[in-house]
Symmetry: C3
Subunit: 315 residues, 3 copies
């Protein structure tokens, strides 16, 4: 039995297989609408995350299955002091697969070690959120045709942004990727990331202003810059507009550049950008659904091997 704790749990080839299934779902949704008839997904969310929870639930429902669970620890046995290990043993009696979100790093890993059903880490504190990374990878692969040879700018809070670190990490397994990190000094990407890139001879640049590099990008991955992360108010006021994507900045970008965002967005992308064909962040939500459908099928061993093979020959 297999779980998903980190995006790196899958080899590059396994990810290709997963994404092939996801793209087949995209093209032939109806074919998959009864694959999980009679199956149950448990969503065990020890902290609320509506978008992620609903994405998992939709994935199971669109596969013909059913869902149950909790959206919030206050309604769970956790409030009576039950351990995650015990909860998953109980959930194993109810469901066929479980998506777990937990404020504590490593909690889904503990659950997986005791579980009788596959467990998907749906976010554990500041640690991992692997299905967001799978979503990002599938979106890039689908829009770009492959996961090799492009320039990606990651913009905003690169210090605390879990999804950004995880995406950089995952992309280091592909060829010809050029990173540009766009952030204020205070919110630079951590040293362990730049050291890792140096050690692998992967090219990257660090800049302060989005305008200086936007013309070079194939993908722009936006994240939120929170006021409280700055050392002082003056810095925030001086810098904040550098990290807001508006029509004016977008005019400087390639016509083929794609804008990504893990959502929720607050004001770091102006709503005037939404109608631009390069705004891909709502497409990304759609890919997030497809990849979760593919993941559920994969972990339940319900993918159709010959479809994978057929698709693999193409790539």
């Amino acid at each position: 039995m297999r779980h998903l704790m980190s995006p790196m749990d899958f080899t590059v080839q396994e990810l290709e297989d997963l994404f092939d299934v996801a793209n087949d779902i995209e093209r032939n949704m109806d074919k998959y609408s009864h694959k999980c008839d009679g199956k149950i997904l448990a969503t065990c969310f020890y902290e609320p995350s509506t978008r992620t929870r609903l994405s998992f639930e939709t994935a199971m429902l669109r596969l013909g299955g059913k869902t149950l669970g909790f959206a919030d620890a206050s309604n769970s046995s956790a409030s009576k002091g039950e351990s995650v290990a015990d909860t998953i043993r109980v959930i194993s009696c109810f469901a066929d697969i479980c998506a777990m979100r937990h404020p504590k790093e490593g909690a889904p890993m503990v659950a997986a070690s005791k579980s009788l059903i596959p467990v998907i880490n749906a976010g554990d504190g500041g640690h991992q959120h692997p299905t967001q990374t799978l979503t990002d990878l599938l979106t890039i692969r689908s829009l770009h045709g492959s996961l090799n040879n492009f320039t990606i700018g990651l913009c905003g809070d690169l210090k605390f942004g879990r999804t950004v670190h995880s995406l950089i990490n995952a992309l280091t397994r592909y060829e010809g990727i050029n990173f540009i990190f766009i952030s204020p000094q205070e919110l630079r990407v951590p040293d362990y990331i730049t050291e890792m890139l140096n050690s692998k001879n992967i090219p990257y640049r660090e800049v302060i202003k989005l305008e200086d590099v936007i013309a070079d990008l194939d993908f722009l991955y936006m994240t939120r810059v929170q006021k409280e992360r700055f050392f002082n108010e003056e810095d925030y006021i001086r810098l904040k507009d550098f990290y807001i994507l508006d029509k004016k900045k977008l005019d400087m970008a390639k016509s083929t550049m794609q804008v990504l965002h893990p959502l929720p967005r607050v004001n770091e992308i102006s709503v005037e950008v939404d109608d631009d064909p390069r705004a891909a962040y709502f497409k990304q939500v759609q890919y997030g659904l497809y990849v979760r459908m593919a993941l559920i099928l994969t972990l339940l061993n319900m993918t159709d091997a010959h479809i994978n093979d057929g698709l693999l020959r193409k790539f």
Copy 2:
């Protein structure tokens, strides 16, 4: 694509069609039990309302579909600052139709303007609650045979009661309706309503005591009178019993009068009234289910045209 924001979004003829479908569902529930197989309803409730939420969910489940969503803003991305416009774009990737309740007036309208799926306003602050009005209209039409020619008494808090204003408004499109407003001075129906009725030459009376008019009514629409709405304690004590329907008052009413209430009821209808055949407020809940089923089918363009035609010929 069509949304439901206000009961007046539908013409009188469209409402007749909708109610015909609802009455066909009432008679032939089984015929509809797979109409929405594979469809998903999202219930996005930014403030809790169990009855309304469960009525929508039941409607979709009884049509063969599935549901997901949130019952409370605290569990939603709204708590992270996401706009309603962004949330509905995300929900559009997950569901086929959305019922939205929001404490802010106009929020469902904003959502509808960005949505890729039909949006039903399930209540926006003190503004609109159109499916309650559709429920009231269907109940009256079903029990009375048509929406014309009857005397309706509206009793209780007529000043703040959203459902009462909406129902009066909706009824002004029909013929031969006689309104009697029964309320304390402090909680009279607002002037804009009486002015509107005057301008349309629609007859109405305003009285203080239910006993004075109950014998004249074909329908009695009860609402709650909250103590905190009175100017002073003495007025409340002096007046409150005028607005409690008990067996004694009901004895003065016609044998064919029907008692409606949007629920929840607190003490404005004595429980001794529940077993009287004229107590129609739980039937109203049932009609609320049928009308929501019909509405989902209508907004998804899944009504069976010839059934409508057939029924229409009858009326």
Copy 3:
């Protein structure tokens, strides 16, 4: 129409029939996967209890049905002052069967008296939790072969433990059962229980230390001992280890003894015990699912009579 308020609502024979259905579900799950197609279970939980709620929901989903409801009173109409009697009348319009948990004793009974659909008491305050008792009985019957002739030790807080009192009560209807009550003086089983046992000439012993009797037991039913239930800190420190089941104590037990626990467990059973074949508390969760499936079928009159007959001949 029939409800379940207390485990004693069913005769011994009716329980045998119910457990026969449960065991048939255990052996032939697939046969039951569409029995409740088109049926809806409402879970009305006025206080949270995730395990119980999910067990009921799983039961209905595994029977092919659907679920709706609320997990918490704060999201329900109760917060607007609606009575349980009114809520169940409304729920009767939506669902085919209802599982209700309520902090107030007797609330499910009030609901049942007004309901148009079967109501299952899913726990009412400190009063009854009948499906836990049915779970315990089915587990014992399944593991022991019958509900007669065994020695059961009940260990921990025997004063306040609702499940313990209910189980003792239910077991007095069977033959050859020997009770051993293992608790600190402060948390002894209440007098009304020992008086009841005396009046029925049912043998029991009361001891302080688990070690003194564990070798005699066929079943050990563990419960939590909460620090705040002790008169003083010294007593708690002196006594608490007597009521923690670990490998060392388990080594003194029969190889066939079975350990039960209503869960959630905090630290009264060491996790080192979990892998022992005698640890039956997660099996118990599984039996809890089967018995709830059987109960739903029974209350909806959907059990297959000849299967019951067939099975009954065996016992």
